[in-house]
């Protein structure tokens, strides 16, 4: 037998970028604890459509925790109360019968609300376009041993590359800073020989774009890493600082 719970949802509704938003309260009965959080919202939207009301708008895509599309600030946490998972992998078994669940969009000047729980995260795309790539031609696939990379560096680069660009770090930060995202993207290249070539230019360009788009100044509270669904480490931020300072001192 499935276990089911009855819950109350307080959801931020906002018609468009300029409209003033407000919380709406919805009651849901008989939600299976085996369902995911987004499936629960699907049930809500089904119910709203049947009642002839506007469904709640929220971002989602792969629903397996790798695309970085889902967001949602649930009960005071980006991606909800579970640690190291995205909202799509959060399950209703983390909640109890009678719970009131508050769902808000990411709130940051860099991520304006488009509608309801959906925010505009194109600022992250712009930061990547500023330098989050390798422009040299790396040629065809080489022998695995041709370019030797210490295991430690390879592992660390892989950990940095696990960032899915969801924006939870900005949402969690009291300063609306994008440093964890930018530092992860700078680190995944800075640690590897192919990325090293353009390391200085990349750090300069991506930080400049981040500042230009109005993200805040990092004050090392560590809320970003604590809430990151991919457990991206704060050590990336130290590396970005190091790369940036080195680049500027060389100028």
């Amino acid at each position: 037998m499935d276990k089911t719970i009855d819950i109350t949802l307080k959801i931020w509704r906002q018609h468009d970028r300029k409209a003033k938003g407000a919380f709406e309260t919805y009651n849901l009965k008989g939600i299976s604890t085996d369902s995911s959080f987004l499936e629960m919202l699907d049930v809500l939207n089904e119910q709203l459509i049947n009642e002839g009301k506007e469904p709640v708008v929220f971002d989602h895509d792969c629903r397996e925790g790798i695309c970085g599309m889902c967001s949602l600030y649930i009960n005071g946490h980006p991606h909800g109360p579970d640690t190291a998972v995205t909202t799509c992998q959060l399950h209703m078994r983390k909640f109890h019968n009678g719970d009131v669940i508050t769902i808000e969009p990411w709130r940051s000047a860099g991520f304006p609300v488009i509608r309801d729980l959906m925010v505009d995260r194109t600022a992250f795309d712009q930061i990547i376009q500023a330098g989050g790539y390798i422009s040299v031609n790396c040629g065809g696939a080489q022998d695995a041993n041709a370019v030797r990379i210490p295991k430690k560096d390879a592992d660390e680069a892989m950990d940095s590359a696990s960032c899915i660009g969801c924006g939870a770090c900005v949402a969690a930060c009291k300063n609306g800073s994008a440093m964890l995202f930018v530092s992860a993207k700078v680190s995944q290249f800075a640690l590897l020989p192919q990325g090293r070539v353009e390391a200085a230019r990349r750090a300069r360009a991506m930080v400049a774009k981040m500042d230009e788009l109005g993200f805040g100044n990092c004050t090392n509270t560590g809320a970003c890493a604590a809430e990151c669904p991919k457990s991206v480490s704060l050590s990336n931020i130290a590396r970005l600082n190091r790369e940036f300072i080195k680049a500027k001192l060389k100028d």
Partner: protein, 229 residues
């Protein structure tokens, strides 16, 4: 100039000025300890740091350090408030690993400055400023020991100063490792090392200050002529 128009540059200025002020506090604490053992030794230091050219240059550099740190603090905070946006979260939970002090550095800093104003009025005004401008006639600017004993004979003053040191301790426990992180000399291994080194170091500094205040109170306020407030 990257130290003013990039976020990391502004943070570097905060870190360097902050570490400079920590260095100053270290010297100040060491000098205070002397008073517990000898009034003459302490007064010798006071005389050495009076109106000599090197002491005045040092004072100006120190004042510049404070000013830069304070101005940047307000500047960064205003920018961060703007970056946060106008809508606030209805429900906000601080993750367990996030230190309370790290989210309240400006508030702690303001508490520290307010006490600093009192501290300057009680000592610097009557000592270095008095020596160069004669603002407090009748007070010997080189007799710091008498001034300190006068202030710390009063239990309320000791209590006030202890509150100050407590706020300072909170400010520095985050400030120290945060400065290392911003300068970039940090990684996964040094993360906990810097935190531990910082915590131990600033605890020694703050306990040193508290020790002098309490020792002077016991020696002169409690055992001596009694507390005059």
């Amino acid at each position: 100039m990257w130290l003013t128009n990039s976020s990391i540059g502004r943070k570097v200025v905060m870190s360097i000025s902050g570490l400079f002020l920590v260095l100053f506090l270290t010297f100040h604490m060491c000098m205070n300890i002397a008073l517990v053992f000898s009034e003459d030794a302490y007064n010798a230091v006071c005389k050495f740091l009076g109106a000599n050219w090197y002491a005045l240059v040092g004072t100006l550099v120190l004042a510049a350090g404070f000013l830069v740190h304070i101005i940047y603090a307000f500047w960064l905070t205003l920018q961060n408030l703007k970056a946060r946006g106008s809508d606030r979260y209805a429900v906000n939970v601080r993750p367990d690993t996030v230190e309370w002090s790290s989210q309240n550095m400006l508030v702690l800093g303001i508490i520290v400055i307010l006490f600093l104003v009192l501290h300057m009025a009680q000592f610097w005004f009557k000592m270095q400023l008095n020596e160069i401008a004669g603002v407090a006639p009748g007070i010997n600017p080189h007799d710091g020991a008498t001034l300190v004993i006068e202030v710390f004979s009063c239990p309320w003053m000791v209590l006030l100063y202890l509150v100050w040191f407590f706020a300072l301790w909170f400010h520095l426990t985050h400030g120290f490792w945060s400065a290392m992180q911003t300068i970039g000399i940090n990684n996964k291994i040094w993360f906990n090392r810097w935190k531990t080194i910082g915590n131990v170091f600033v605890t020694i500094i703050c306990l040193g200050f508290a020790f002098v205040a309490i020792a002077i109170y016991i020696k002169y306020g409690l055992m001596g002529a009694g507390g005059v407030c």
